[in-house]
């Protein structure tokens, strides 16, 4: 959301929508992994919560253009991915971290991130500097020349994040990005998310409600392929008032919305 104020005129609000879906579905045989999702998301960090099997990963894969939807409409960064030119333009401005990061064990951190910088068509003369910057942003400077097979799970997760942000994406899709990160790294990562979210759209799928509370401006809760709640973390918290399940206010809100949706 961008708000422009010109002198004494009332605030003029122009909304940038980077993700727009209508009735989006994705079916695997008879199972509806995504069952009619309507979203309008602008710049900022958007959290996607939900229990296992809710459809979060499938929704992210569709938004990442890995999977085509079974039906429904979708516009990303103002383009439709249905045609090849639109898809290519979207992918140039997209960053994606899948739930499971596949990697080349013999590549160094730098080589791995550089590989995707080149595949994302970052110009060759700028690619190396972009790679170094991405590696610095995820605090892997001291391991830039280390082989990937020598890294811990948390470090590999940060390598995955580095490849996702190497092209300064306008749409960043992260599936369980904090899995394997220690508490200190998670705090740093949330700070990175907020920084990227100042000008880009970041969609984070996670199980950890504290990540949502700390980093996200808006949050959606998925259940059985549908969005059953969308609002701010504060609004989600308020749904948990008087609900007893959950240790933290946001957890109680999460549990309360899920219980109501299931009922």
């Amino acid at each position: 959301m961008v708000v422009n104020i010109k002198g004494d005129e009332p605030p003029e609000t122009s909304t940038v929508v980077n993700v727009e879906t209508g009735g989006l579905t994705r079916r695997f045989r008879r199972a509806h992994a995504v069952a009619g999702v309507d979203l309008r998301i602008g710049p900022g960090v958007f959290g996607l919560l939900g229990p296992n099997g809710a459809g979060k990963t499938t929704l992210l894969r569709v938004l990442a253009t890995v999977l085509p939807p079974t039906s429904g409409s979708m516009r990303l960064l103002g383009r439709t991915p249905a045609d090849q030119a639109g898809r290519r333009e979207i992918r140039r401005r997209l960053g994606y971290l899948p739930q499971t990061l596949g990697y080349y064990a013999n590549f160094t951190v730098f080589e791995f991130v550089e590989y995707f910088a080149l595949l994302k068509e970052v110009p060759a003369d700028r690619a190396q500097k972009a790679v170094a910057r991405a590696i610095e942003r995820v605090r892997l400077d001291d391991r830039a020349r280390a082989k990937l097979r020598t890294l811990s799970g948390g470090m590999l997760r940060r390598v995955g994040i580095a490849q996702a942000i190497v092209n300064d994406p306008e749409l960043l899709l992260l599936d369980e990005p904090t899995a394997g990160l220690d508490p200190e790294q998670r705090v740093e990562f949330r700070s990175l998310l907020r920084e990227i979210g100042e000008r880009s759209t970041v969609i984070v799928s996670t199980h950890l409600v504290e990540d949502i509370g700390a980093a996200c401006a808006r949050v959606a809760l998925m259940l059985d392929g549908r969005i059953v709640f969308e609002g701010t973390p504060g609004e989600l918290t308020s749904r948990g008032t008087g609900f007893e399940i959950g240790d933290a206010p946001l957890e109680r809100g999460y549990a309360a919305v899920l219980a109501k949706a299931r009922a």
């Binding site: 990442a64 253009t65 890995v66 999977l67 085509p68 939807p69 079974t70 039906s71 429904g72 409409s73 979708m74 439709t80 991915p81 249905a82 090849q84 898809r87 290519r88 333009e89 992918r91 140039r92 997209l94 994606y96 899948p98 499971t100 990061l101 596949g102 990697y103 080349y104 064990a105 160094t108 730098f110 080589e111 550089e114 590989y115 995707f116 080149l118 595949l119 994302k120 068509e121 060759a124 690619a127 190396q128 500097k129 790679v131 170094a132 910057r133 590696i135 610095e136 400077d141 830039a144 020349r145 490849q163």
Partner: protein, 254 residues
């Protein structure tokens, strides 16, 4: 950084360079300069093959994708050379041409392992790249086929048949490679591609032995050239259909 611009790592130890950094005006983006220096320290130089590929393909990304092809790695090439060398030795000792039988099978296996889920570890991320995975598949498959054809030709020259060097096996090699590629692409499994490619080739060889009386009938018969080419074209059509996006009529964008 004086004459250390080409070697930033040395520049970091150079007194003059460090003094320059200390006296640099504060409005200079030191962080950006540092990142630039570190990028040169960390980056490796692309190999000759990759540099040539960049020129030919006119894409640095596609060139990097090509040189990371699993079935073009050194270990795979060594294995292919060993198999063909053994084929040459045995062919010479028993006076029976084995290279026309081995080369198509090797090429089929190599192509099945060129690209795809389960073969390429970063396949999921690669599918979100502006350089389409179909283009990566095409470039890798052509490179693997070309290299295997070259190795097979060298082996054929080393073990010529009675009538001289015959290269008729290049046609069945095309068909076996196309079958392996189609099976791997449709099933999403390199193992399925190899299995079907080799099984198809074994059936063709045994069928040729029964009908033609020779082990190499399937590799050398002129009558089979057209059927092989039609079969290969059908397989390529299947690959193109399976690798398009969206890949199913019901999966539509609107």
């Amino acid at each position: 950084m004086h004459d250390h611009a080409s070697d930033p790592a040395r520049g970091l130890d150079c007194t003059a360079c460090r003094r320059d950094l200390e006296t640099t005006p504060i409005d200079v983006d030191l962080s950006g300069i540092w990142t630039g220096v570190m990028s040169q320290v960390w980056a490796g130089r692309p190999g000759r093959t990759e540099l040539v590929a960049r020129r030919v393909l006119r894409s640095a990304g596609l060139a990097r994708a090509l040189v990371t092809t699993p079935s073009l790695l050194l270990s795979w090439l060594v294995a292919s050379v060993v198999v063909l060398a053994a084929g040459v030795v045995v062919s010479l000792s028993i006076d029976t041409p084995l290279i026309p039988l081995l080369a198509p099978g090797l090429a089929g296996a190599g192509i099945a392992y060129a690209y795809g889920p389960g073969t390429d570890p970063a396949y999921e991320i690669a599918r979100t790249m502006p350089i389409s995975d179909r283009m990566v598949l095409l470039v890798r498959a052509l490179a693997v086929f070309g290299l295997n054809a070259l190795l097979g030709i060298v082996a054929s020259v080393a073990a010529p048949m009675a009538g001289g060097v015959a290269l008729a096996w290049l046609v069945p090699m095309t068909a076996v490679s196309a079958l392996a590629l189609a099976a791997a692409t449709v099933s999403g499994s390199a193992n399925v591609g190899v299995t079907l490619g080799l099984a198809g080739w074994c059936i063709a060889v045994l069928g040729g032995r029964i009908t033609g009386g020779h082990m190499d009938t399937a590799a050398s018969s002129q009558q089979l050239v057209l059927p092989y080419l039609i079969f290969a074209a059908c397989c390529v059509g299947i690959v193109l259909r399976a690798s398009r996006f969206p890949n199913h009529r019901r999966q539509r964008w609107s």
